[in-house]
Amino acid sequence: MKKLIAALVAMALLACGCALAEAETTDITVILDYIPNTNHTGMYVALDRGYYAEEGLNVQIIEPTEGATNTLVAVGKGQFGVAYQEDITMAHSLEEPLPIRAIAALIQHNTSGLVSWKGKNITSVKDFEGKTYAGWGGPGEEAVLRAVMEAEGLDFSKLNMVISDGNFAALEKDVDIMWFFEAWDMITCELNGFELNYLPVRELDERLDYYTPVIITNEDMIANHPDVVARFLKATRRGYMDAMADPDGCAAVLNKYAPDYTLEMLERSQEYLADKYMEDTDRWGEMKRSVWDNYTEFMLEYNLIPEMIDADLLYTNEFLPEAE
């Protein structure tokens, strides 16, 4: 009987202890934009090395249903998410705007561009007429292609636009042009010995040097839990600092959470991104108003949005940790 009482008391104490510990940590759900990749490494490192735990955050990183991240963060199903400047601007142009804001840029410059198979010898936008572009049906895609072609005095209607989820192998066949991320798709091609011609979009039009990807949160978090947002970014920054200092080590960490990729691929991608996360900035995650305004103006010019949107509604640097 004594033993039983002792056991019960011990269990009760344990339960109290757990409850106390729970009160100190905050449950956080981060919703990615896509399958886990090297854009996300810093967050996985912060999770794996306990940086989030040190900030009292119990973080869970989940992959999204396609295209639902912004909506899920807007309604509070996740506190943080990974998104793109284009989508955030688009989401703010609705009659009922999504209450989301960017709080940190994961990569300072747009590292994406238009690619073609080397064998087709498409070396500049001048070669685009009569070709086929395969994309994902994003709102800004058509505008970007129209803009870069018209800047060269070309007829955009002569570019055949299709939506397709095919992979790079299609570039050898009916598809001529696709939009790739340097750190991911292009390294996949490289490892497969598939040679590409690459035109970085930011070199085609400086307004296209927008932030992709960024971390977002919702207005409820900004208004009611600013400390959580700041702690989350503090720990996240540490993860990305590690990724910059030790690309290969952090690629191995990512590989634990994304085991379907070869370590070689992740290392190559990580090495490429190491100096891109903080290119041209001293403070991790910082965003420039001019970058937001430029692309909003671009979207307005091409009728993607009905009116100009104040950049303050789209992003904030206020939660970023100071540079050390």
């Binding site: 807007a74 989401a91 009922e96 395969a134 989820d165 095919g166 009916d174």
Partner: protein, 282 residues
């Protein structure tokens, strides 16, 4: 007097019910379509009330009135994209029908063919589209071909299976009768087996018709530059949920139309189905 009054009442009730059914069969028909219509309308009204009462944001779930508005304002685009999708669905259905008739006869004529082909057919129904899509793009490009093939992959199976089953269920005495009069194998099919299997074939076609539009939409998701599936992807990427739901309404309407089309054709090809019904009424 009936020894069991309650039973007598029940009998009278049954009699009444039966005569009711005969006299008011028109009313029953109305009920059959009235009840689901009422239930559907009630659901839509409930949806509207809930969305408004709970203040659900339109980027989560648009109200039916918003969807109808989007359907109206975007009607020109929806119509143009629908035409493309319907064309693909009809093309796929046509190919499915021709192939199903040929393969169905082969399967019926030879157990060997049936044993070889049937498992393959089942397998085609289990391969997820996401696996096939890169291959479809590589070899068929972006025209109508990959969408039509997707429709065929989804529609061929129910048609061939129901047609082959229909022929397998022909009373062997009929076949023997034709044979005993010296009928050829061809005559066995044209005189007995195919006519007998037609109702089964049409059942299969009705199932296939319902799938055909979704099949074309899935094909458009693989690679496209027009069609309802293409429209759906574009508006989804722009957070235009009202337009997305509007395109779903269009998909539903088109699927029902395809189903109705098969029903009309079946009534034309099999007029005895109408006669049977008329006979019942008398």
């Amino acid at each position: 007097m009936h020894p069991f009054p309650a039973c007598a009442k029940a009998h009278a009730g049954f009699a009444l019910l039966r005569s009711d059914r005969q006299v008011f069969s028109g009313l029953n028909m109305n009920r059959r379509s009235l009840y689901p219509a009422l239930a559907m309308a009630a659901l839509i009204v409930l949806w509207e009330i809930l969305v408004r009462a709970l203040g659900v944001p339109s980027y989560v779930l648009p109200a039916p009135t918003q969807v109808l508005k989007a359907l109206y304002t975007d009607r020109a685009a929806l119509l143009a994209h629908s035409a493309v999708t319907v064309g693909e669905a009809l093309g796929g259905m046509g190919i499915s029908l021709v192939c199903a008739i040929l393969l169905g006869i082969l399967m019926d004529a030879s157990e060997g063919v049936k044993a070889c082909v049937y498992p393959v057919l089942v397998v085609t129904q289990t391969v997820p589209m996401i696996v096939l899509s890169p291959i479809l793009i590589l070899y068929l490009g972006f025209g109508a071909a990959p969408k039509i093939l997707t429709v065929v992959l989804m529609c061929f199976f129910p048609v061939v299976v129901s047609f082959a089953d229909g022929m397998a269920q022909v009373d062997p005495n009929y076949v023997n009768l034709i044979r005993s009069y010296g009928g050829s194998a061809l005559q066995v099919y044209t005189q007995v087996k195919i006519p007998y299997a037609l109702p089964a074939l049409f059942s299969g076609l009705k199932v296939a018709a319902t799938y055909s539009i979704s099949g074309a939409v899935v094909g458009e998701w693989v690679a496209s530059q027009s069609g309802i599936g293409y429209y759906l992807l574009r508006v989804k990427n722009s957070y235009a949920l009202d337009k997305m739901f509007a395109s779903v309404l269009v998909i539903i309407a088109l699927s029902l139309m395809m189903n109705g089309l098969i029903w009309i054709i079946s009534r034309i090809c099999l007029p005895y189905l109408n006669r049977k019904r008329g006979g019942n009424k008398k």
